[in-house]
Amino acid sequence: MYRLEPQAREWIDRSTVLRFSFEGAPCEGYAGDTLSSALAASHPYLARSFKYHRPRGVLSCANQDSNALFQVDGIPNVRGDVTLLRQGMHVTAVNTFGGLARDRARVLDRFARFLPVGFYYKAFHSKRWFPRWERMFRAITGLGAVTLSAERRTTPKRYGFCDVLVIGGGPSGLAAALAAAEAGARVTVVDEAHRLGGTSALNDAERQALDSLVRDVQASARIAVLSATAAVGCYADRWVALAEPRRLTKMRARAVVFATGVIEQPAVFRNNDLPGVLLASGAWRLAERYGIAPGRHLVMVAANMEAYAVCRDLAARGVNIAAIVDLRAASEAGPGAAGAGAAGAGADEAGCASLGIPILKGFAPYEAFAGADGRVCALAVAPIDDVGRGGAAAESLRRIECDAVLMSVGFAAAGQLLLQAGAGSEFSAGLQQFVPLDLPAGLLAAGRVNGVYEFGARLADGRRAGAQAAAHAGFGAGSAASIERSTRRPSHPFPVFAHPAGKNFVDFDEDLQVKDLENAAQEGFDSSELLKRYSTVGMGPSQGKHSHMNALRILARVRRVPVEELGLTTFRPMYHPVPLKLLAGRGFNVERRTPLDARHGALGAVWMSAGNWRRAEYYAVEGETREQSIEAEVEAVRTKVGLIDVSTLGKIELYGPQAGAFLDRVYAGSYASLQVGMTRYGLMLDESGVIIDDGVIARLGAERFYFTTTTGGSATVFRELSRLNALWGLDCALVNVTGHRAAFNFAGPASREILQSLADVDLGEASFPYLAAREGSIAGVRTRVLRVGFVGELGYEIHVPASAAARVWQALSEAGRPHALRPFGVEAQRVLRLEKGHLIVGQDTDGLTDPFEAGARWAVSMKKPFFVGQRSLKILESRGPRQKLTGIEVLDATRAPKECHLVIDRGAIAGRVTSVARSRTLGKTIGLAMLAPPLAEPGREIRIRAEGGEMLAARVVAVPFYDPGNLRQRAGRAA
């Protein structure tokens, strides 16, 4: 390949030379060059193939060259055909051992016959040897190398919105964008290339028309253009992932026009992968955009009119065409043999003939030969009818010397995104191409992907699709035009040619030859999906863009069925490989903080997470260990007074005449009978009778309740209660005030005395007894105060507006200072409640625990007419519990089991420890355990399998462990 004189429309700026290095050697290119174009002008080949390490060059120059991958400044697998050259780049080839030229793995090419299809499955099924093979293949396979020291690059994500999204900036896409914009729609056009225009305007009239479309699109205020942007995934309701160079846009469009065009397909013949053998469209892109001629005398393998148009175009640029090898017999091609566009086709063919280019009709490429530099140096051709399954006879071969072979034998529709979006497809035997079918509303296809090939027809089809898309988005009346699909045949039905020596590649990504696919089919993997998985055809970086049509054709021939009976494999996102940085999230973690978070921090809180809340596990004090701090916090509550932030509890208000009836239905206890000014414990069950939540319900008025849920359950419980309220239609309403209100538990023998000094309500035992609820002022702030006993001492749960939380906390802290008040954290609270034997839903209960098993029969009112879970409880009650939650004390004072350790009885699992803690108050290690009923008798000794299999003895005891008569919390009496 070599640079031509400056071309009229080239994308490069020859006045700006960029210097870079390739494989350590200095190189030059121009501004506007891609890596591939800069290297192609000066290097015989660019890369090594994945499996056999064969030299490879440019194929398409259209973001599909899966062999021309490079390591650029530490970034692996950069696509050379679309990556713009920059000054100072350090570029190396990927997948080589010892460099591109002296790749030691190129020896694999000679072992090809020992690497049959399904090689891995056939050779490496021994378990014993597998780890060794795995290590070996991990070392020799793979493409670029990941640089672990690479800097972290965060890339933004963006939400985009438009009325009409047009994917593809070729003639039909541009026409669609203009038509939609004229109707009044806001349009976004995306194209993979750096400039609009597509790649198929092959004569001056078409170029001028295209230039005018590009100008109009760029001038339109309603059209936004995203170049160098690939639409990589199409999801439900027209949600399209757009991979821009440094950003991912999640585009929501009201309608989408797929003007994605077609992907040119290679012919399959021996050595069709040699550097210098490339697609005609790739050669045209090199010449048009980068001023590079593919060779000095080239051969065109042709099966459509595009081949002749490219030949004429290249000839006009001064490139010598040695021959055109046309797969079609003289009777199939040329003027008169086709319908619409035949005049153009005839003109190009006649034009080529008049240039004196030899045209061989009815000939097929049989074998390409490599020269000393590794590039193609000659092509052997034979009459197509002489190339049978076993190959061609020597006497029918003709050798044509050349330095490049162009292939223009057909196209595959780039319909992957359409299929992802839910469109169907059918195979058109006339076009030899899949065309879209049954498009969902708001999705339109236009141009060559829709089977419309002639330039004028493509513009018309684009206008139709654009107008219809705009109409779907609510602009204009649409278009009634119906555009006929082409009647000529752009694609050859079987451009695949056997050769006894093979190396006729179908898939360049995975180095799959014709015989690999034939063998796979004969071994029984003979549906398109099975063939793909077994042979790996279409599973490489190009995802079958150059191989799936030919693979289908080969499979169809092996099975002797038409292609349309086989169907396509499923296309899934992503359409192109996408850098992970574009997809990776920013790692956001939701963490809720209570209104007092800063105060806890100042008090030395050591944090833990509970649900999605950040809570104080305990407050670290200088000179104390964690255990000492927790013990001191427990002691403060038991002997003086403590204060804990329980703002994380779910908090719900309930209003209405049927509020009590609603609570009676959703909680197992009885609430319609609850007196105003009193609270009652609530146990919430699901329909199977399993405990799902608990809390305290306070009746503040005849039609007004206030209740709490667990910290972890606050969102889901409120949501489910809302659903039940909507379902039953009772006359009541729920309000979630979890975030509006803060809450503290102020507990300890001294709590009443301190609180009374700040409160305007009488806290005396007679007027504010245990389980009562009052509204009043504390430190001048309107609060709700509940007498609770969770930690087993005289205690008040104080609920205040979040905005006043700090003021009330401060006042309580100051008033408590003379009484040695200590803030306490979650860990101390767990010990305190365990000493009382109070369960924690989700820790002491699991997804199967019912109230009878949890020892909470007292909180269930079976006499009520209905509550959620009641019917199931009736069944469960008659059966008796399968397990029982019981108190245990560990007999060995020096050792403790952990939560979830198993209880073993006669060699079988008979339960598990659900809570355990060292109680300094009681001087022993206590816990709760779910035990099989025979073991759950007080006094019974059980054995727990602890860390390392050590068996610990424990005794079943009645709960509460501490203050069994509950006198302290009831009467607030000091013991």
Binding site: A236, D237, W239, K250, R719, R723, A726, P865, I875
Partner: protein
């Protein structure tokens, strides 16, 4: 991402919603057998088809009923939650 049309909030991305299961009709708890009740509690129909489903718009806490073809994942209609009571008994004996 799908768009779901909430009867209260209009079309919104599906990430703003949670699914609440198929609308199911409880047998009368006072009259049904234990086997009938267990079937209602534990068994769900996984068969594809056109189904009434509970959906909740999280941001507004609004529950509604959607009629969805689970084979095509197409919602053909949405209704306020009252629809659930029209469709059949709702599992209470009040």
């Amino acid at each position: 991402m799908k768009i779901l049309t909430c009867p209260l909030n209009g079309p919104r991305p599906v990430s703003e919603f949670v699914y609440g299961g198929e609308v199911r009709h409880a047998p009368d708890p006072d009259r049904c057998s234990d086997a009938e009740w267990s079937d209602y509690v534990f068994n769900r129909s996984g068969s594809p088809g056109i189904k009434y489903e509970w959906w909740c718009h999280i941001a507004s806490g609004f529950w509604f009923i959607a009629l969805r073809d689970t084979t095509r994942d197409v919602v053909s209609a949405t209704y306020p939650a009252d629809k659930a009571r029209e469709l059949g008994p709702v599992g209470t004996s009040s």
